[in-house]
């Protein structure tokens, strides 16, 4: 088979595709770029629509105001802690469950499967969940952010499909013949072979925990336990919640502060995850389809 000749028609189509691709990239990248340059610009310039492609006058007031917030470092630390501990717990809970479900010789597999699937679609609602969490005494503690919502049926199914499709039964049989027990097989053979699914589930869990604020809103009262996203949300939606307090300059000042800090807040809350992403990129690209196809 010879290689087809590269005609000028091919070249034209090639260029066309490149142009379309570049336009799409710009459409996606521009909002992100805008947020970054807006965070370094004067806030009233931003509101006036004067910021287009480059930051205006270099202005760090957004960041300065943000880091003056009383609880910013405490909540930053909390979010990092919740993410680290929560990811570990999430992996510790979901991976073994997925592995167990993947083993065809596990007793009661069908019923456990149904037991997991039903709550994925039918939840109890906010108030009953609140009562359950309260009954366990988890209200207003560190653990409420990482323990109650750590099991994700979706992740378990992904893990299960991964193990089924990538670990052949013959491997297990061979290990059995050599005297390997189930648990030892899991830790010494299955886990080391599943780096990609660990990275995928780990990243999904970490991003979910990094972004979480609703659970903190409902279950946590103490301001020393609140995560970063909750603090930022409060700052940013001050605008909408100030009706009726429009007398006096207090309302205006809060609104101005909120406008100033808006873009800086977005940048500092997404920066760590965006820095983490490239390191996990290679696993992610390979692994995201990993649970999807049953060979």
């Amino acid at each position: 088979m010879s290689v087809q000749k590269y005609t000028s028609q091919d070249a034209a189509v090639n260029i066309l595709f490149h142009i379309i691709a570049v336009i799409m990239i710009l459409l996606i990248v521009y909002p992100l770029w805008f947020v970054v340059i807006a965070s370094f610009s004067n806030p009233s310039d931003v509101a006036n629509g004067k910021i287009w492609l480059w930051p205006g006058k270099w202005d760090l007031s957004g960041y300065r105001e943000l880091f003056k917030q009383r609880q910013i470092w405490v909540s930053y630390g909390n979010t990092i802690l919740y993410t680290l501990v929560g990811t570990f717990i999430g992996l510790a809970v979901n991976i073994p469950a997925g592995y167990a479900m993947s083993r065809k010789d596990m007793a009661g597999r069908k019923w456990i499967n149904i037991f997991y699937i039903i709550p994925m679609f039918l939840g109890g609602g906010l108030i009953p969940t609140y009562f359950v969490v309260k009954a366990f005494g988890l209200l207003n503690t560190f653990w409420v952010m990482v323990l109650p919502f750590s099991v994700s049926t979706y992740n378990i199914i992904v893990v299960r499909t991964f193990f089924r499709s990538s670990l052949p039964d013959s491997l297990w049989e061979a290990a059995q013949i050599d005297g390997c027990g189930s648990i030892r097989y899991f830790f010494q053979i299955a886990l080391p072979l599943s780096k990609s699914v660990l990275a995928v589930i780990g990243l999904w869990t970490a991003v979910g925990l990094w972004n979480s604020w609703f659970n903190a809103l409902i279950y946590i009262d103490s301001e020393n336990l609140q995560p970063l996203q909750l603090l930022l949300r409060r700052i940013l939606i001050t605008n909408q919640s100030l009706l009726g307090a429009a007398t006096g300059t207090m309302a205006q000042e809060l609104r101005r502060l909120s406008d100033m800090m808006k873009y800086a807040a977005i940048v500092i809350s997404t920066l760590p995850i965006m820095c983490l992403y490239p390191f996990l990129q290679k696993y992610f690209n390979h692994g995201v389809m990993i649970g999807a196809i049953k060979e």
Binding site: S44, W143, L217, G244, M250, A251, Q252
Partner: protein, 517 residues
Amino acid sequence: MSVSAALAAGMFLVCSCAGKNKGSASADSQNVSTFSVATVRWADWGEAYHQGFPDKAASEAGITVNWKTILNSDWGDKKAVLLAGGDLPDAFMGSICFSESDILANRGTFIPIEKYIDQYMPNFKKIIESDSTMKALATSSDGHIYGLPSRKPCRPVTANQMFINKTWLDNLGLSMPATYEEFEKVLKAFKEKDANKNGNPNDEIPFGRGYADSVLFFCLPFGTTLGADGTYMMTVKNGQPVYIPTSEEYRKGIAWMHKCYTEGLIDKELFTEDDSMRDAKLMSQTPVVGCAPGWTADSTFGKNASQYVALPPLAGPDGKKYISSDPEHWNYSRYEFVITSACKNPGKLLSWIDKFYTEDASIQNFYGSFGVGVDKDEAKGTYTVLAPKDGKSADTYAWVNSLRDFGPKYVGDKFNDKVTYAAENGDALKLVLDQSMKQFASEAYPNVSYTPDQLNTIATLYADISAYVSTNQAKWVTEGGVDKEWDSYLTSLKQMGYDKFIKIQNDAYNMYKSNKK
């Protein structure tokens, strides 16, 4: 192995936390002079607001108060969970916490307190006997008292008002307009000439969005006397409750506003811009807004405030002048303190709150305690509001150091005469503005109480009615047609239940009047 160890450790921690919670609960129920009071604040300003007068009054009353500060941006979600079955505090401080419909819909959660007044609240008893408004505001639609009302010190009679750029008037050699026709001419001059003297005659916005209802304030010369937020755009004309968007005054005002809009005198983005854009225009480096409504020039225009002065009420086609005034909503309020069913000793708690109903307490709970926000001259019986000690604006300083707008308060009619201000203060500015404006105040729709049924019906009806009114309002101002479409507009409103809506307002108005006697 490590997984199971981690899980075991987790369970252990969970159990120990559960044990700790149970322990503290039993200690509290025996110690009935410790109360938990929750309050909602607009922003995270720390705990200084209760560390002055409120805590001192608590120790004088022989009780301990555990304060729980909740932020308003969280409160919406937290409220639902708390009312459904969370741990209720003993009481809530501030009308910001619950609306009337929250309270009357959850009457099992909030207890009536009228039976404690005689024994535990001598100050408050005197007040409701002498001030019929306070009595009416304390009473809910079912005749019980669920929440304590307040009357704030140092508040004006005027609500929001219009401000006009005096520098522009001077630049163009114009005098302050006195009638609505002169006003229209002034706006035209703002538009056509280079009023802000920056070389560009086209960047001026004669009338822009401010911090109040743009349409109804623009149309004030015609009699659209709007009250406070949340009053369903009701007002009172000739002793009858009137829904402003169905009145003749509104129709004529909108027709005039449309004429001005076609002449380019009104910001084209009036109905579409968001709050950030509005603030950017009002406070831009070179002032671009000629006229806008707000509370004071400072709170509306920020650092451009020095260019703006109050626009005196303009005479309308009937020669009368109107302002927006609603003291019963802006200066008084209901439900500033409510007690929940979790409270084991309401009487004792109320004896502490009774201390809030003195003039000393009220001004301290508005500006900050003695020595922090305000000082009292015992000999003369006068008060001086101090300058902010941390360089912040006076308004923010007051919010940081006191409950400010919220919590029980009461001052007499002549109280404002006893107060002087040591430094520049938005409240003082407003009171000065008020002097020349308040004579034009007309009767506003009072602070009525609705029954739960009325509240439910109004909520459903008003959602449709107000949406319809807003869309038509925007259409008529920008495109015109108010006179042509007026009759079909009224018919549509009737189909949406407008008759029921106005009947409820009439009933509530009559009930309020009878409670006042």
